[in-house]
């Protein structure tokens, strides 16, 4: 009963906060709202026994990415945003597309069939701790993808520098 209560609270908060994120006029408000949203999602991860991801969610998303957003917003100094239109012209069309997609996903949920269960039951993870279990798989079975991700990040760093750098000439 407690678990359901927590989930309902988190779900309601996540839904409302996400709607707020996309409707705020001032991007700074959106980012702040999103920060709160990410904490809630992290909490949701904890209820799903994914403590490590909860930590990563807070550290990377809330700590790094959102700060980057905030940094860009302040860097660009979007003054005219306060008076400009918030939505594109045909926004009802976008809304309809989103709702349609949502309905399609909801309808398709019924046909979802769970696959075979894995070895990492709650008890196993409890005995080994979540982080250790994740690390074991990550550095054995998923070592190559992990290394590829490091390269992706490296490319992103270089790309971001190249894109954001001021042109030296002209």
């Amino acid at each position: 009963m407690l678990a359901e209560g927590i989930f309902i609270y988190l779900a309601a908060a996540i839904t409302i906060l996400s709607v707020l994120v996309i409707t705020r006029k001032n991007p700074v408000h959106s980012v702040i709202t999103m920060l709160v949203l990410f904490f809630h999602i992290a909490a949701l991860y904890v209820t799903l026994n994914a403590e490590f991801l909860a930590a990563v969610q807070v550290i990377v998303y809330a700590g790094a990415i959102l700060v980057l957003f905030l940094f860009v917003i302040l860097l660009l100094n979007l003054k005219e945003e306060a008076v400009a239109r918030r939505y594109v012209g045909p926004w009802p069309l976008g809304l309809m597309a989103a709702v349609g997609l949502f309905l399609a996903i909801i309808v398709s949920l019924d046909s979802f069939v769970a696959g075979p269960k894995g070895a990492f039951t709650t008890e196993v993870i409890k005995a080994e701790t979540n982080t250790k279990a994740l690390g074991k798989i990550l550095f054995t079975e998923y070592l190559y993808p992990f290394e590829v991700v490091s390269i992706v990040l490296l490319v992103a760093i270089i790309g971001a520098i190249v894109l954001a750098k001021k042109r030296l000439r002209s």
Binding site: L93, G94, A97, L101, A104, S108
Partner: protein
Amino acid sequence: MDSYLLIPFLPLAAFFINIIFGRTLIKDKAHWVSILAVFGSWVVSMMAVAEVLQGKTVNADLYTWITSGGFKVSVGFLIDQLTSVMLVVVTTCSTLIHIYSAGYMHGDKGYYRFFSYLSLFTFSMLMLVTANNFLQLYFGWEAVGLCSYFLIGFWYEKKSASDAGKKAFIVNRFGDFGFGIGVIMIFLTFGTLHYIPIFGAVNGMVGQTVDFLGMQVDLPTLIALLLFCGAVGKSAQIPLHVWLPDAMEGPTPVSALIHAATMVTAGVFMVARCNPIFSLSPVAMDVVAIVGAVTALFAATIGLVQNDIKRIIAYSTVSQLGYMFLACGVGAYGAGIFHLYTHAFFKALLFLCAGSVMHAMAGELDLQKMGGLKKYMPWTYLTMFVASLSIAGVPGLAGFFSKDEILWLAYSGPSPVGKLVWAIGTIVAFLTAFYSFRLIFLTFHGKFRGSHEQEHHLHESPKVMTIPLMILCVGAIASGWVGIPSLLGGGAHFTEFMKPVLGHLEGHGTHAEEWMVMAISVVAGLSGIGLAAFVYLREGDLAATVTQKFRFVHQVLWNKYYVDELYDFIIVRPTIWIAKNVIVGVTDGKIIEGIVNGVPELIGRFSLWLRSIQTGMVHQYAAVMAIGAFVVIAMVLLW
């Protein structure tokens, strides 16, 4: 046998060498290549003729050209009596005219081009005469037409020359169309295009009829007349004679070689070659004879009044070609070929002499501006005089024997129109003598009527030109001696020689009749010369008086019976009208251009419309993506 290959292919090699290297490397040495090639060809031809004289004929396929089902054509050679005569004519005239051209064309900027075309022509003509099947004949036939076009329009900067070239080509299309159909009919009838099997099987054709344009037509007559169509075009007979006088726009050696001695006689050669087919159809034979006779008379009368030295000889050529057809038409193929053979020498000689005169007169063609050239150019005068005597049929010279043979066989032969064409031929003999000597007297006798600069410029042509004249002059005198009739103590060797190919037509008449026919033609010729002398050698203006008196006749003749004007009115103008208004205006302008421009226009408009999808707006792309995802999920769910 293999050495016979050299006969056509030496000139072909010369053509390629000259056309490829002529502009950059050979330049004014181009004549050496061509002359050596054609001379080599002449030597091999003479060897071939010697073989044939011993009775060894050759018929061999060298190379299979086309095989398609039952249709099989090869490149092959048939060297028999008829071919050997043509080889003599073509290679001899060709060699001499090549040499003459080296002098005549000296300094022309298209020198190498001239010689390469001349070599190509020689190749084509030799392919034509040595062919052993109809397709190779047709190939040579069209190739000589092409070379003729090149060479008539050789000075293409001159509008009249390029027009004349086009005219020759287009007029020949009419004839060649019939010829082509004729060849197809032969293939359909016999299933092969080789001469020997066809001529062996022609008798199976007798009595067959064929549905042609809805009428039942006698098959041999149809084929013969279709083939004759081609001959009419190539040999400039009525009604397709109009191109030959205009062809005189080309350089004079070309006129001598192509438009007098060799190419234009291809029609006669072809009719003689196909004599087994023609002989099956009395109707076709009569048509050939009548067309020949009428053309002979028609061209001779035009020749009477012309003032252009080359055109007179051109009409003379048309007239003499008519004579040859007349002979073929009465069945005297041997006599026709005999006349072809002698005519080649004296007519080439006449043209080359005319070229020599033009050379001296700086290109002047008008007889009325010449006169008294005798003392400036004695060799030209002498040789041209002999040639004119020969064409006039003065006894002892080449023209006499061949002409006499034709007239006698026309008179005495079995042809129903024989007497008629004999009468016409005799009149033509008189007219020929008259206009030939009118030409001589106006050119070489009397006082010079041109300008002072021209008079100052007058000179005899260089040796490279006069020596071929002398050699041809020997031919004009002596080439007939191989066919002296038995009446005059000769053996009629020529027609005997041709007998295996052309058959032999026996004249049925007494010796007295034969003497009479001969006497009449001689009298006609001599009186023509005499009348010309009477009119043009005496001081006074008898010619002008007669012209005044018969103004209408003179006008008609002067305008060549208005044939060109008639064709212009009934063919050229309607054709141009249709081309302009129907083809350009509707077919090309509306339909073709409509499709060609319409399709891209349509695609362009569609693309313009389609382009509006690509707005550059990220939102729309994303929305399309979302809708697409929705559709995909919906499809997965619903199926």
